[in-house]
Amino acid sequence: MKDSRAVSRRQFLQSTGAVGSAAYLRLLGPALIAITESACTAKQQSSVFKVLSEQEALDLMAIAARIIPTTDTPGATEAGVIYFFDNAFATEMADMLKDARQGLESFNREMQGAHPGSGQFGGLGEDEQDAFLKTQESTQFFGLAWTMTMFGFFSMEQYGGNKNHIGWDLIGFEGNHGAWQYPFGHYDAEVHKETTDGE
């Protein structure tokens, strides 16, 4: 009998490959994964955007803010994910900016259709935003926004996002650290303590 915890084939394809594979991400095209360190030097967060218009930035920020919302802990907004978007679109992902803009236009058009007279996506209530985003989950534009939000939240600060390691702190990851001394976690600490006590 099939294990009740078995993950469906669709979920599998969406969420994982086996060891070392990353099929979902790779669907998004080579330019996305050609972001280089040299090209993405972080800039002052207070300065104007390099390529995004103010309205584009607000829309993308609003979307990223629903993907990783601000709750009792910081989210995509506080991590400055939008600066990652802007840096990337200004440099190695420049050839994807046109598609991203078209995707955003289409997104906004559908949003206006669903909420006539509502103005901007960010102007909707959070529940309305989430409900609309659900209708967009299968679009390439949402996939791009999702992936860039992850990159902007969890990549090194030099790429413009993950400000003050907000992304890493959220999940308890002390990244880009040099040496570590064991014990590392709860369970090995128990064992190493026993070993030490026995000496």
Partner: protein, 545 residues
């Protein structure tokens, strides 16, 4: 550059790096042609976007390599965004970016065909050498490359102890051991090609946690970059020539290899003459290069009178189960694996299929955050929003994976060929991989996945999930494509790695392996390289190159 040298070694990885060192320190002049750049330890970073996402050490994603994949020859191969055949393009090859799990084969791996009998429709065969013949070279790897570990209950005999103790146990190892004990299994320390303490003038591991996919900034990972290349260069006889992309091996009218043609860093065609050629480019690139070296004398590719070049590709099948525990494991720190289970190593006829495998516990998807968010998180949770965020925040430090690695049977239908349409960035015909696991391989992976779920429960996981077993669509283990054997009709090289067809062409890397082992081939590739070097040096001394 046109001056003839004694040996051109193609590839500087697990095999090529060792052969370069052994041949050059024996006094031979050696040029190593490596297609990747010459990165040093100080060039290695913890930059997940560059290393994992952008595949920095692999030279970029598949838009560079143009590789194609299909499950069988009736399908038209397609070009996935991520290269299906994955190896590092850098001096030191994949020994630079591998996870450094380091298992010896056992005596049974070399003679399983005789013990179990034939398996219909496969090229299942014995090796032309025994474990006993290779054992001194495993020991040489232990001491010269640098291996940490401790003996396990089922290990093959060893002539010398490990040169240094195993890496400290991690929480994933403690939990695996806990589960194993409850189930009557035997967890043992993982052997690593990682120094647990200073050795041979190199520093010990600092437990930074960036082993899998990354290069080691401390030089503690026992890559050939860290352990062999410096010795080769210090001999004064060895030139490492990075960013040299080989396009063919040429032969003279006597049928001997006489020069290797390559593109230099500027894309200009160059040729290096040599008395002999050592091909150690990995189990995919080696086959591609031989096929690309077809000529009127060798219409089906060099060294391919048997038709076995490129055939019998073996990746090892895998299974992955994931579990989340009550307390933080922080398993992103330190090496990936600290405990393994080898109770299922040997074929057990009661299981109803051929094969064996090993089990390990490791962070895998919880080593770095983008990898976790993208592929490793609990798939029952939405992929965005508050629940997604809360789950990431809770699970990342509490999650581990139990990985199963299995045998792969050698099949004609699993192979490396030249894609008829796709080219790589250098204009070479791209690698086309055709691969469909034998049903027994998948059955074994499923068996190990079942055990992994039981282990998760026995270890006390609060939740666990599995991915299910699916046919392999590419791999890092590149084995079997120029197998060694005594019969020139069914193998590409003899037991001393000399090609049957071209007397001064030696081939040694994962392609030499006759069977796949149980999942961690690099230790065996390195032992084969030390052994091949001894035979090549002896032949050179006897004037028999």
């Amino acid at each position: 550059m046109a001056n003839e040298v004694d040996f051109v070694v193609i590839g500087s990885g697990s095999a090529g790096g060792i052969l370069a060192k052994e041949l050059s320190t024996a006094g031979h002049s050696v040029v190593v042609l490596e297609q990747g750049p010459y990165r040093k330890a100080s060039d290695f970073t913890h930059d997940e976007l560059s290393v994992y996402v952008r595949a920095e050490l692999r030279g970029g994603n598949n838009e560079v390599h143009g590789q194609t994949f299909r499950h069988n020859e009736n399908e038209t191969a397609t070009k996935p965004p991520e290269a299906p055949i994955r190896y590092a393009r850098t001096v030191g090859g994949s020994s630079v970016h591998f996870t450094a799990n380091f298992w010896r084969l056992r005596p049974i791996d070399f003679k399983e065909r005789s013990l179990l009998g034939p398996i219909a429709g496969t090229n299942f065969a014995d090796w032309p050498i025994t474990y006993e013949e290779l054992e001194p070279y495993y020991t040489k790897v232990d001491w010269e490359i640098g291996v940490s570990g401790a003996p396990g209950p089922f290990d093959a005999p060893r002539s010398k102890p490990f040169p240094m103790p195993p890496m400290p146990i991690k929480s994933s190892g403690v939990l695996l051991e806990r589960g194993a004990t409850k189930l009557g299994l035997h967890a043992q320390a993982e052997p690593h090609a990682i120094l647990s303490q200073p050795h041979n003038g190199r520093a010990g591991c600092i437990s930074c946690g960036y082993c899998m996919f990354y290069g080691c900034e401390a030089g503690a990972k026992s890559s050939t970059l860290a352990a062999m290349i410096p010795l080769a260069e210090a001999s004064g006889n060895c030139e490492i020539r990075p960013e040299s992309v080989v396009i063919r091996i040429e032969t003279n009218d006597k049928g001997r290899a006489n020069q290797v043609v390559y593109l230099d860093a500027d894309g200009n065609e160059q040729a290096q003459k040599a008395k002999a050629v050592v091909l150690s480019a990995n189990g995919a690139e080696t086959a591609r290069l031989l096929l690309m070296s077809a000529s009127p004398q060798h219409p089906d590719g060099l060294a391919n009178s048997s038709g076995f070049v490129g055939r019998n590709l073996m990746h090892n099948a895998h299974s992955v189960a994931n579990g989340v525990f009550e307390h933080p494991l922080n398993d992103y720190k330190g090496v990936q694996v600290s405990r393994i289970i080898h109770d299922f190593y040997e074929t057990d006829e009661k299981r109803g299929f051929y094969g064996g495998g090993g089990i390990d516990a490791r962070p895998l998807f919880s080593a770095t955050p983008i990898f976790h968010a993208e592929t490793g998180r609990d798939p029952s949770v939405p992929r965005w929003g508050k629940e997604f965020k809360d789950t990431m925040a809770h699970d990342f430090t509490r999650q581990m994976s139990i990985v199963g690695s299995t045998t792969s049977l050698a099949l004609d239908s699993n192979n490396i060929t030249l894609d008829p349409a796709s080219k790589d960035a250098w204009g070479r015909p791209a690698i086309r991989a055709t691969y469909m696991d034998h049903p027994d391989d998948l059955a074994m992976a499923g068996f190990l996945e079942d055990r992994a779920m039981e282990l998760m429960d026995a270890a006390g996981a609060e939740k666990s999930w599995r991915f299910g077993i699916h046919p392999t669509t590419g791999g890092e283990h590149l084995l079997g494509t120029c197998r060694m054997g005594d019969d020139p009709a069914t193998s590409v090289v003899g037991s001393k790695h000399r090609s049957h067809d071209v007397p001064n062409l030696f081939i040694c890397d994962g392609s030499s392996m006759v069977t796949s082992g149980r999942g961690q081939p690099t230790m065996t590739i390195m032992a084969l390289a030390f052994r091949a070097a001894d035979h090549i040096n002896a032949a050179a001394k006897a004037g028999e190159i």
